[in-house]
Symmetry: C2
Subunit: 344 residues, 2 copies
DNA sequence: GTGAAAGCGCTAACAG
DNA sequence: CTGTTAGCGCTTTCAC
């Protein structure tokens, strides 16, 4: 019972029904014209022999699969796992099988995954993060495989994302309104450099508009993508920041996960949020909304991002046309919660 | 530039290198013996024409893929998304491509995904949840496709999970030690009925050992898999529970996400955790460890679950043997944090 | 309406 | 050591 014969093929069905291969194929695909009588017989035979079409063979002869790849930077980050889930839903509903791949944020791991997708002849790829492997992206393009980057802007590719700069500007303006003048900017390896740059631009822009000088020492990017609150190094870095003459009274953080970690760290250092220090994040993951966490943050419209991203790949796949570039930038919204307060 | 010729095949490489198909195939697979000179020429040709092996064609002729499916109940639940990530890592490292599918916990959606995997001739399946679709599971078995259920016990299948009953027993004993006598048990649709039953058993067992009578009205299963704290109905249910003559002083919850939601709800109702009510969860997701949340919970060893689960499928795939059943039950550990306290 | 035949791109004997 | 050959399971003209 552990090694049964090979699974039944279309030929087995044909024999069982006393018709030819092509007739079976026709009724399966609903193509051509088949008399009701034959159809019934074929359907019966399919059930009898327990036939299940072989997608591999079909793909080979059709020279196209119905598989689309989803590349995720970090499935453990709820923002991405939820996006992935939404995109998977949408694509599955449209009749595609999805291969979700986790890249760990490493470029090499990303290239490997894309190569695997290419070998499996994926018909399209949705990237929930893109480290900028341009040679590969170009290859995709050259082979006519649509790729759309979701949640971060890419100059030369289809993409749908949020206006990062505008989001941060909103957040920083909120802090400024609360009287903060020394506002630190913290980002992490969890955020693509490109996205980080855009968010940082928003930060500088907001400061400039308010006539607050930009101080480089208040800007730190922490590359270690691990959880920070358990990271001694990170704690020291934060302490250093807080010991500076121009001690920041607020932190703009480029990602909720890191923002929450920062709150954690600050509280370990004996500071209260928001009484002593305000913190604002970016993404608005479910977690941020918990009363216990209550993080003020910039919300990304996840459903829209997923919906639009999926729609674009599907359209590209459908029409086979990769032009013109489709680039969407959605408006983020500030969600004010309990991690920000009037400056002390 | 948008519609280029079909991707190069092995034949293109052969022609370019002036050898036969099989020689190219040999160097690609490292099979047979090939002179260094020819190999060089072939390698050069591969690079020149930009050849990428077609996994579809290979799978067809080999009559086996290197694809393994991962079924997840809810990617938005960090416990599962992290498990999925770990399993994917492990399988990818072993040279397999993974198709991660989200089932939303629906049995029909689960069946659809499995059917798709079957059509794509997956060589193995890791189920991070299993609603008990036995007909399909049997079909997998009949076709010799290994399937291992991770994180919940399945009588008739390979599985690796935690000793749910023991975990809950640990937790409830902890509550009893703190002086609690009226301990409610709350579970949700997020947890498979089977798993829930095991956990409930642990609850009853612990009560019995302590000579505390089991009161059915203190046990509630909330089927709605949505976030609870925004659910008016749920709030009413909790209020009802707390209004009962034998008002519970502690809650054993079968899942961290729900436990956190419950804390939220309790606090909305004006109760303090743990001063007025203690709460303990199950899973130990990252979130539970945040100082702001600080949930006492039963930890599942995720890395081990993922590691063992992956190892089992890989071995099954390797040996082609589905016997004997491999069923592992790991020991959970209680992590005491700040959501439990001496009864008031 | 239905069947026969020619592959899709590749692997795996088997000859040379 | 290299080339020839026969398919893998299916779709898709094109005759009958």
């Amino acid at each position: 019972m552990s090694g049964e014969g090979r699974p039944p093929t279309i030929l087995d069905v044909a024999r069982h029904a006393g018709v030819s291969k092509s007739t079976v194929s026709n009724v399966i695909r609903g193509a051509g014209k088949t008399s009701d009588a034959t159809r019934e017989r074929v359907l019966g035979a399919i059930a009898d022999v327990g036939y299940r079409p072989n997608a591999i063979a079909r793909s080979l002869v059709r020279r196209r699969t119905t598989t689309v790849g989803i590349l995720v930077g970090d499935l453990a980050n709820p923002f991405y796992s939820e996006l992935a889930k939404l995109v998977e839903q949408r694509l599955t509903a449209a009749g595609y099988a999805t291969m979700i791949c986790n890249t760990d944020g490493h470029a090499t791991s990303e290239r490997l995954r894309i190569e695997s997708l290419l070998e499996h002849r994926a018909t399209g790829i949705v990237m929930l993060q893109f480290s900028g492997e341009w040679p590969l992206a170009d290859e995709l393009h050259a082979q006519g495989i649509p790729m759309v980057v979701v949640s971060c802007w890419e100059e030369a590719s289809d993409c749908v994302c949020v206006d990062d700069a505008a989001g941060v500007r909103l957040a920083v303006e909120h802090l400024i309104e609360l009287g903060h003048r020394r506002i630190a900017y913290l980002s992490s390896g969890l955020v693509e450099p490109k996205t980080d740059r855009a968010r940082n631009d928003g930060y500088r822009h907001a400061l400039r508009s308010a006539g607050i000088p930009y101080e480089p020492e208040l800007v730190v990017r922490w590359e270690e993508p691990a959880y920070l609150s358990s990271d001694r190094q990170f704690m020291l870095e934060v302490e250093r920041l807080l010991a500076a003459p121009a001690r920041p009274t607020a932190f703009m953080v480029s990602n909720d996960l890191v923002a929450i970690d920062l709150m954690e760290t600050l509280e370990q250092l004996g500071l209260r949020v928001p009484a002593d220090v305000s913190v604002v994040g970016f993404d608005d993951i479910a977690l941020a909304g918990l009363a216990r966490v209550s993080l003020t943050t910039v919300a990304q419209p996840r459903e829209q991002l997923a919906e639009l991203g999926s729609t674009i790949v599907l359209e590209r796949i459908d029409t086979g046309d990769l032009h013109p570039l489709r680039q969407l930038r959605l408006e983020p919204a500030l969600v004010v919660r309990g991690s920000t307060a009037q400056v002390a």
